[in-house]
């Protein structure tokens, strides 16, 4: 937190940055001491302090000065290490300085009386000129923030649970202090040390805070972890409980709250980020993080009891691998299914009650959409992996026999065919009296619908397997070399863009931006009018999945098995969902659900805003095409040779 218009403030995080960068401007004209910077005055190794503490090295930079590891020379025969915390009194006014020192000594006296395994023991304190020193127990260990960032993946729930219980313990001890409760006020992972026994120790005690009272408008507490009321200057036991909730949240999710807007934990529910967390623990953390202090645990002891009961039920004591909720799998009965003679890798289209789908058995099938009854099939001489287009009672389909076939939707009789020089894996796109289709012969073909003759063709650098996308009289498509083109209706190049690897995915978009994915593991957003790159979103692996758009979200699958949701404006990930294998087909949105197939054989239905699984339906083969949803029915094919119809 920063306060605009305040005077230079030695305690806010910026001061720490200043220390870290080791460069100091002339910060204070009022400093009559002539000494400029605490860093310049930092104690060197070997220096002896108060004729007793031999400085070994700087181990940390606190808000007010340095922390040193030192050896206590009163024990000449053993190496007794202590931590010496230095606090620099920067107040220019002598009266204020004196008050600060008095406050410091009062606090130090208070702390010295505290005896608790999670509080470092205080051995000594003293003030020398403008600096005050606190000598405390030296802790061998690592702070929790370091542990979080050095761990790959999530910390085990049991571990975090144990720490949380110990932290509740020490908070309870502090809060029950007589005559006045002690509020820690700065609970966060970097203030919690885990010692060599694995126990927690609270460091950086509130004692330092007396040095902050001099600066106007300072926000005490650490951004991200502090409760709302702390910004109003209220410090209560419930404030420590909130910060503890924030600390646990950070440890379990690895999401640093300092990078998020304040008080936004409820937007990042624990189990959405880390589904392995037990629901009981999530409830406890949520309660600790309630906005209203009255809704939180009222005492640390109460929170501890709640944590203990979770530990008993699920965590430390007994681990029941509880499922993450009731998920229907294969409890779903298809409305119908239809078996072709070979794999189905393509996508269906629907018109006037008939479903059209091509298969690897070379046939284009027409089925009755309501019951899955066979209507007709049209044989081509090659496999069909694309999606049919429909126009004026005709079905348009490309085949690996190099041809675009145009067939009557009613009878399945051929109307005309068009030859390219190589197999067709791109789907036809119809616009303005023309059909646009790519071919492995590396040409984009524009064919007149009425005559079946070529209007023009555009040569690209490599095979075109993406489906041309038409927007505002421009045709957009990518090819296998990674070149991406925008061509106008006369077949003239408007602009080109180069991805690092194949663009097999087709494009979606609107006037502002167009989106496609690439085998170079990137989801791209381009300006459709000039091809400038707006943003890139990094996917875990290659993608040939065509994105789809709903609201402000772009959805796309990738070979890493994830379905991603990305915010269109900011290119930030909204969520991701893991399937068991590659996601090569494209997601579709219908009402508030997202449907997408995976090579793991399942069709997934997710809540599209959150990525939560609603249900999945297993087939016997990989699903590589895109489902079609029409009138509350989902149609899709699988490499188990079947076409399925399910209720959405």
């Amino acid at each position: 937190m920063v306060v605009k218009q305040s005077t230079a403030n030695y305690n806010s995080p910026n001061w720490r940055n200043a220390l870290e960068t080791r460069i100091f401007p002339d910060l204070s004209d009022d400093d009559e001491g002539g000494e400029r910077s605490p860093v310049q005055r930092q104690l060197q190794a070997g220096a002896k302090l108060a004729n007793r503490y031999s400085i070994q090295e700087v181990v940390g930079l606190g808000g007010m000065g340095s922390v040193y590891r030192a050896r206590d020379m009163h024990f000449p025969n053993v190496t007794k290490l202590v931590a010496v915390k230095e606090m620099i009194n920067t107040a220019p006014d002598p009266l204020v300085r004196e008050t600060i020192v008095q406050n410091f000594e009062r606090e130090a006296n208070l702390l010295a009386t505290l005896t608790h395994p999670a509080i470092p023991r205080i051995y000594d304190y003293f003030s020398l000129e403008s600096r005050s020193y606190l000598v405390l127990e030296f802790i061998h260990g690592k702070d929790m923030e370091g542990i979080i960032s050095d761990t790959n993946g999530f910390l085990p729930e049991t571990q975090v649970l144990t720490w949380a219980m110990e932290l509740c313990d020490v908070l309870d001890f502090l809060h029950k202090h007589k005559p006045d409760a002690i509020i820690f006020r700065d609970m966060k992972p970097s203030n919690v040390m885990i010692n060599s026994n694995g126990d927690v120790i609270l460091i950086d005690f509130g004692i330092a805070k007396v040095f902050q009272s001099g600066s106007k408008g300072t926000m005490i507490g650490t951004e991200g972890y502090s409760p709302p009321e702390q910004y109003r200057g209220e410090a209560t036991p419930m404030a420590d409980i909130y910060a503890l909730g924030a600390t646990i949240h950070h440890a379990l999710t690895r999401r640093d709250p300092r990078l998020e807007p304040p008080f936004s934990f409820s937007e990042r529910p624990l189990r959405r980020i880390n589904p392995s967390i037990s629901p009981e623990l999530e409830i406890i953390v949520n309660r600790a993080l309630e906005y209203d202090p009255a809704s939180r645990f009222q005492t640390a002891a109460e929170m501890r009891d709640a944590l203990v009961s979770v530990a008993r039920k699920t965590g430390v004591l007994v681990r029941t691998g509880s499922p993450t909720g009731p998920i229907k799998t294969n409890g779903i009965k298809p409305l119908w299914s239809f078996k072709c003679e070979d794999e189905i890798r393509g996508t269906p289209s629907i018109s006037q009650g008939s479903l059209f789908i091509g298969a690897y058995d070379n046939n284009l099938y027409a089925l009755d959409a309501a019951e899955g009854k066979f209507q007709w099939k049209y044989p081509t001489d090659g496999g069909i992996v694309s999606r049919p287009a429909l126009m004026d009672g005709n079905v348009y389909i490309g085949s690996e026999d190099k041809r675009l076939h145009v067939v009557s939707a009613r009878s399945g009789k051929v109307v005309w065919t068009y030859y390219t020089d190589a197999p067709i894996r791109s789907s036809p796109r119809i616009a303005e009296g023309h059909v646009f289709i790519g071919s492995d012969d590396s040409y984009l073909h524009a064919i007149n619908l009425a005559t079946g003759r070529k209007a023009w063709s555009f040569e690209s650098a490599d095979a075109i397997r993406s489906t041309p996308f038409v927007l505002n009289d421009i045709v957009y498509f990518g090819c296998e070399s990674g070149e991406y083109y925008a061509v106008n209706f006369r077949g003239e190049l408007k602009w080109r863009f180069r991805a690092k690897r194949s663009v097999t995915s087709s494009t979606v978009g609107h006037g502002q931006s167009i989106f496609f994915s690439s085998v170079d593991s990137t989801l791209y957003a381009l300006d459709p009018s000039n091809g400038w790159l707006l943003w890139k979103f990094r996917l875990g692996k290659a993608s040939i999945s065509t994105p789809c758009i709903a609201d402000d979200l772009i959805f796309v699958g990738a070979a890493d098995g994830f379905i991603y949701a990305v915010e269109a404006r900011t290119s930030k990930e909204a969520w991701r969902f893991r399937t068991e294998h590659q996601v090569n087909g494209s997601p579709v949105i219908y009402k508030d659900s997202l449907y997408c197939g995976s090579v793991d054989g399942s069709l997934y239905c997710l809540e599209y805003r959150t990525g939560r699984l609603r249900w999945k339906f297993g087939t016997e083969g990989a699903i590589t095409g895109t489902p079609l949803v029409y009138d509350d029915i989902i149609y899709f094919g699988s490499t188990d040779h079947q076409v399925y119809a399910l209720l959405a």
Partner: protein, 301 residues
């Protein structure tokens, strides 16, 4: 008819006096306004136009705001790509460092972005850029963050920067300066979100608009350039709506002049320069408690 309006419009701006003294019944000021307002002047060449205004205000001695407006037109047979960069930064922190921070912010960000675009805009373009607009913005902000921590440790600044390339605006935003779209029909639409405590509390529904206006910690930011070990600016793309004016301003303007008066000052002005003057004047009339900076830009044609 259209021609007639255009003639009228032209007449008014160049020789208003003639109309005033004419014997034929002149159109009233209001009629003229409605004509001017409804008219969407057509320019053959699509281009950006911009203007800016700044004032130290009535109560401060020091101007800690910085602004930058850069508008380029490059048109020819090979195409036309409007290009502009607009930044408002409101410095804060003790002593004179606020102004150092805001100045370092605009220079560093602009320098970084212009260096990136230089080889693509001012040379014969061969290929599209490797980096996306959002990546460039992010890198520019990070560089500014480092520059401020180096040049003026302890200080900080807000930053609201809009890079316009064609019809695409890429915004980078930290703090509580703001970007708005102002439409001729009187709508005003903020496109940034303040990183202030008071805004956050309002978003969460914990305080009302009225409470927010009187909130004691109105000036507390939870994100500022130069502050904190980690900085996460808001970076996003938005299309440039036509007709609309993009306004960037510091809280010395939006914090003192009501939204509807902002719109009025802009829509009643004959051009962007006058609009900027009107806005600065309005803020000063309202007391001018803080430094005032405003940049207006419009994509025409």
């Amino acid at each position: 008819m259209d021609k007639f309006f255009r003639w009228l419009f032209g007449k008014r701006s160049t020789a208003t006096k003639t109309i005033d003294t004419a014997n034929t019944a002149p159109l009233t000021e209001e009629q003229l306004k409605s004509i001017v307002g409804n008219q969407n002047p057509h320019f053959d060449l699509q281009q950006l136009i911009s203007a800016s205004g700044q004032s130290v205000g009535k109560q401060r001695e020091l101007n800690e705001d910085s602004l930058l407006a850069l508008t380029a037109t490059m048109a020819g047979n090979s195409g036309n790509l409007p290009f502009g960069l607009y930044i408002v930064a409101d410095g804060m922190g003790g002593h004179q460092f606020g102004e150092v921070a805001s100045n370092a912010a605009i220079r560093t960000v602009a320098g970084y972005i212009l260096r990136k675009f230089h080889s693509h805009l001012f040379q014969i373009k061969t290929d599209t850029m490797d980096e996306s607009f959002q990546e460039i913005m992010q890198a520019a902000v990070s560089e500014a963050q480092r520059a401020i921590q180096r040049e003026a440790p302890g200080s900080g600044t807000t930053l609201t920067a809009a890079l316009v390339v064609g019809q695409q605006i890429t915004v980078a935003h930290v703090g509580d300066s703001r970007a708005y779209f102002v439409y001729p029909d009187g709508r005003i639409e903020p496109i940034t979100r303040d990183h202030s405590l008071v805004q956050r509390l309002q978003e969460l529904g914990h305080i009302t608009q009225e409470e927010a206006e009187n909130y004691p910690h109105r000036n507390v930011l939870y994100r500022a350039l130069g502050q904190g070990e980690i900085l996460e600016p808001d970076i996003f793309n938005v299309g440039f709506p036509q007709p609309a004016i993009l306004m960037l301003c510091s809280d010395g303007l939006w914090g003192v002049v009501a939204e509807q008066d902002l719109v009025k000052s802009i829509n009643e002005a004959p051009n962007l320069q006058r609009a900027c003057q009107n806005l600065v004047t309005a803020a000063n009339i309202a007391g001018g408690p803080d430094n005032i900076s405003v940049v207006l830009t419009q994509l025409i044609g």
